[in-house]
Symmetry: C2
C-alpha cells in the first residue's frame, strides 16, 4: 500500500486512524467500534436516537481493506472464514470530551482493543483540533530552549548515560560526570533505574554532580546539561525539580509510563527546565504489530502534556526495533502538531550509537536538532572520553557537509580510532 496522507482534524472533531484485523464483516466491525467508543453499546438502546447519534456518535470516516491475513494477530476474537486487515479512520465530536488529554486517551485508546470483533487493533495516527493547543501549551523549552540551556548552537547535543545504571554513590556518579564534562560532553542523563534510592539519594547526587558541572562551567563557560531522573510522586518531583534549579541544573528527566499523563501535565506546569521524557515500557505498548500503538500518536500525547525530549531508540540499535521504525519515530517527534503551534520535541537517539550512525541518521531526518547519546561510542574510545566526544561531533559535521565517514577518518585520527570501537 502507499502510505495514506497525514491526518488532519476539523475544528470540532478528533480523528484517529487504526490498523484493524477482523474476521467479521469490516463495515460491521467498524460500526461496532465506533458505537462502543461513543453512544452505542452491544444492544440497541431506545434512548440512542438518531439525533443523539448525530450529536455524540463516532463516525467511520474511512475503511479500506488492505489485505487478507492467514492467522489472527491476537487470540480470543470471533472467528470467521476470512480475516482481513483494514485501515480504519474514526472521528469523534470534540464536544464529547472537550479538549482534555486524559479523556482523549479514554476515547481513542479505551475499551476497544478487547472487542470480540477485533483480532488486531493498533492506533497508528491521531489528529486533534486546535482547541487542544489553547489548553495544552506543549513543550515549554523544546529544541530552541534546550539548545540555549546546553549552549549548543549547531549540530546535535552529544550525550551519554551514567553507567552502571544503578549502584554508584553520589560521589562516584559525580566522578563519572567529571570525566565526561572534562571531555566536553553536551548532555548526560541518569539511567531510568536511578531516581532516589537509599544508596544514591537524589539531592546528594544532584549536589555532587552540579558541583562538578558548575565548576567546569565557571572555568570554561560551557555548562553540560544533566537530565536528573526525578521520577516519583508529584510532591517529590516538584521538590526535586526546585532543587535541581537551585543548584544550577538545566534539565530534569521522568519516566513517562511511571508518572502518567496527569502527573506529566502537572510536572510540565511546574517546571522551569526542559523535561527529558523516558519511554521505558514502550515495548509493552508496541512490540506486537497488531496491538497497541504506533509511536506517532503516542508521542503526540506526551508532547501535548509538555515533554521536551523524547526517546526514539537509534539506528542499528541493540533492541528489537528496525531502522525504519526509529526514523519514523524521530520524524514524528519533529512534525508540527498544529500549523500554528508546532510543539516539536527533541528526539533522543541512543542504544549502541557510534560515529557510524551519524550520516545515515542525518540522511534520514535532515536535521541536527536531536540528542545523540552514546555509551560504548564514548567510553570505548581508545583515546578516552574527550576523543570519543570529538569523534562523534566530527562525524556529525562530516554528515552535514556530505563528507564520507572514511574521508573524515582520514582527516581525523579520533574518528579513525572511533571506527575501531566494537570491531
Amino acid at each position: 500500500m502507499t502510505a495514506p496522507a497525514p491526518l488532519a482534524a476539523p475544528p470540532d472533531r478528533i480523528v484517529a486512524r487504526y490498523r484493524l484485523e477482523t474476521a467479521d464483516d469490516p463495515a460491521r466491525a467498524a460500526d461496532i467500534i465506533a458505537g462502543e467508543q461513543s453512544s452505542g453499546t452491544f444492544v440497541a438502546l431506545a434512548r440512542e436516537t438518531e439525533g443523539l447519534k448525530e450529536k455524540a456518535g463516532a463516525r467511520v470516516e474511512r475503511l479500506e481493506v488492505l489485505d487478507v491475513v492467514d492467522r489472527p494477530g491476537l487470540p480470543g476474537a470471533k472467528q470467521g472464514p476470512v480475516l482481513r486487515r483494514c485501515l480504519l479512520e474514526l472521528s469523534w465530536p470534540l464536544s464529547n470530551m472537550g479538549p482534555s488529554l486524559p479523556n482523549l486517551v479514554a476515547t481513542i485508546a479505551g475499551n476497544l482493543f478487547e472487542l470480540n470483533c477485533v483480532a488486531g487493533l493498533r492506533l497508528v495516527d491521531l489528529a486533534v483540533p486546535p482547541a487542544f493547543a489553547e489548553r495544552y501549551p506543549g513543550p515549554r523549552h523544546g529544541i530552541a530552549g534546550t539548545r540555549r540551556l546546553a549552549g549548543v548552537t549547531i549540530g546535535p547535543l552529544i550525550g551519554t548515560i551514567v553507567k552502571p545504571s544503578v549502584g554508584l554513590s553520589p560521589e562516584e556518579t559525580a566522578h563519572e560526570v567529571a570525566q565526561l564534562v572534562a571531555g566536553g560532553i553536551d548532555f548526560v542523563k541518569d539511567d531510568e533505574l536511578q531516581a532516589d534510592g537509599p544508596h544514591c539519594p537524589f539531592e546528594e547526587r544532584v549536589r555532587a554532580v552540579m558541583r562538578v558541572v558548575n565548576d567546569a562551567a565557571d572555568r570554561t563557560g560551557k555548562k553540560a546539561m544533566i537530565a536528573f531522573n526525578l521520577t516519583g510522586e508529584l510532591d517529590e518531583m516538584r521538590r526535586r525539580h526546585d532543587f535541581v534549579l537551585a543548584q544550577g541544573g538545566t534539565c530534569v528527566m521522568a519516566s513517562l509510563h511511571s508518572v502518567g499523563f496527569v502527573g506529566m501535565v502537572e510536572l510540565a506546569r511546574h517546571s522551569a527546565l526542559p523535561i527529558h521524557g523516558h519511554r521505558n515500557g514502550w515495548g509493552y505498548l508496541s512490540r506486537h504489530p497488531a496491538l497497541g500503538f504506533d509511536y506517532a500518536p503516542w508521542q503526540m500525547l506526551w508532547r501535548l502534556a509538555g515533554v521536551d525530549h523524547l526517546h526514539v531508540n537509534g539506528l542499528a540499535n541493540k533492541f528489537c526495533e528496525d531502522d525504519a521504525s526509529v526514523i519514523a519515530s524521530a520524524k514524528a517527534v519533529l512534525t508540527p502538531i498544529f500549523p500554528h503551534a508546532a510543539m516539536a520535541a527533541m528526539p533522543v537517539f541512543s542504544s549502541g550509537q557510534t560515529v557510524r550512525q551519524a550520516a545515515p541518521t542525518y540522511a534520514a531526518i535532515g536535521t541536527t536538532d536531536l540528542i545523540f547519546a552514546a555509551g560504548g561510542g564514548i567510553f570505548g574510545h581508545p583515546g578516552g572520553v574527550r576523543a570519543g566526544v570529538v569523534a562523534l561531533r566530527r562525524a556529525w559535521q562530516a554528515a552535514v557537509e556530505g563528507t564520507p565517514l572514511h574521508e573524515a577518518a582520514r582527516q581525523d585520527p579520533d574518528v579513525a580510532a572511533a571506527l575501531e570501537i566494537g570491531r
Copy 2:
C-alpha cells in the same frame, strides 16, 4: 504445568515473575534481562564491580523451561533453532529505588520488553516488601467503606451504567438515574466516555443526578452510590471530587490509564470518597498472551495507589476474555497484598451480566464482596427496572444459599422473567 506458589518478597527485595519466550540460551537471556534492569548494560563495564553487582544487581531467583514453542509470540527478536517458553523470577534490592510506586514500575516493566533476546515477555506476578505499605496506605474505603456508604450489608452491590454512554444531557442523565433509583439499584456509574464534555458538563450532571438521589434517600433511607467520572487534570479532579462530596455523592470514578500512577496517588490522597477505577485500555496491555501484563501484578499497582474498585469484566462477557481469566482477576483484587495490610479492593463485574452469572461467579470466588453491574440484565427485564434489580438480587441470594437458579425461578416470577432476557 502446576501453578507456581504465590510470590513472597523478603523485607529488602522486590520480586517479579515473568513468562519469557526466547530463542537464546534461557540462562543467558535471564542474565541479560537482570543486567539491563539493574547494574548491567550491553557491554562489560569496569565500574560494575562484584561489590556493586552484589549491592545493586537484580538476581535470577528462578528459571524453569516450561515448553518449546513453534513460533515466536513477537516479531523482531533474535532467532535460534529452539524457542523456549520459561518461567523467570527476578528480584531487586529495595535499596535500588526505595518504596516508590513510579520507580517500581520503571524497574519491573521498563526497558525489558524490547530486548533482542525477548521473543515474548509477560509480567505475571509481583511481590513487594512491607516498606511499600508504610508509604502507600492502599484503598482508603475498600469493601467495608463501600458497603457502608452504599448501605448494602449483604450480597453484592447491584449496579448498572448510564447508557447511552455519551450524548445525554444532565437532565436526561438524571431522568435515567431516577428510574434506576426508583427500582432500588445500589450502584450506578458514568460511562468512561462521559466526563465533562460541553453537552453534559460535570457539575450540572452531578447536581441534577444528586437531586434525584438525595430526594430518594430522604424518602426511603437508601442512597444509591453513583460513581461520577471525574477523569481530568489534577486540579479538575480535585475540584470535581469536592463538588461531588458537597452534593452528597458517595463515589468518584477515574480512568486509570488516562490519569496514570502519580495522578491516582494524588487523587486518592485528596479523596474522601471511594475511587472507582476504570480499566479501559486494559486490552492493549494484555491481549497478546506473550506480551505485557497479567491482571494480578497490574491491579496490585493500582491498589497500592489507592483505588477502591477495580473492573474485572464478567463471566460469559461480550469481550474477548475467557471466564478463567475473569475469575483470576477477581481473586487477585481480593487477595491481600501484605499479611498485615490486605488492601483489598472491590471487584466490579460487568458486560452482559444477568441472573445466569450469579451462581457461577459465586461458586468461583466464594464471596459477595463485589459490584455486579448489568445493563440489558436490568433495562431488558420485561417487568421493568425494579423487577430487573430484584431478579439479580434474588439470583445472588439463591447462589449463596445453594438454591439452583431454575428453582429460584419457580419461586420468583421476576427471576423467571429475567431468564427470558436475550433469549
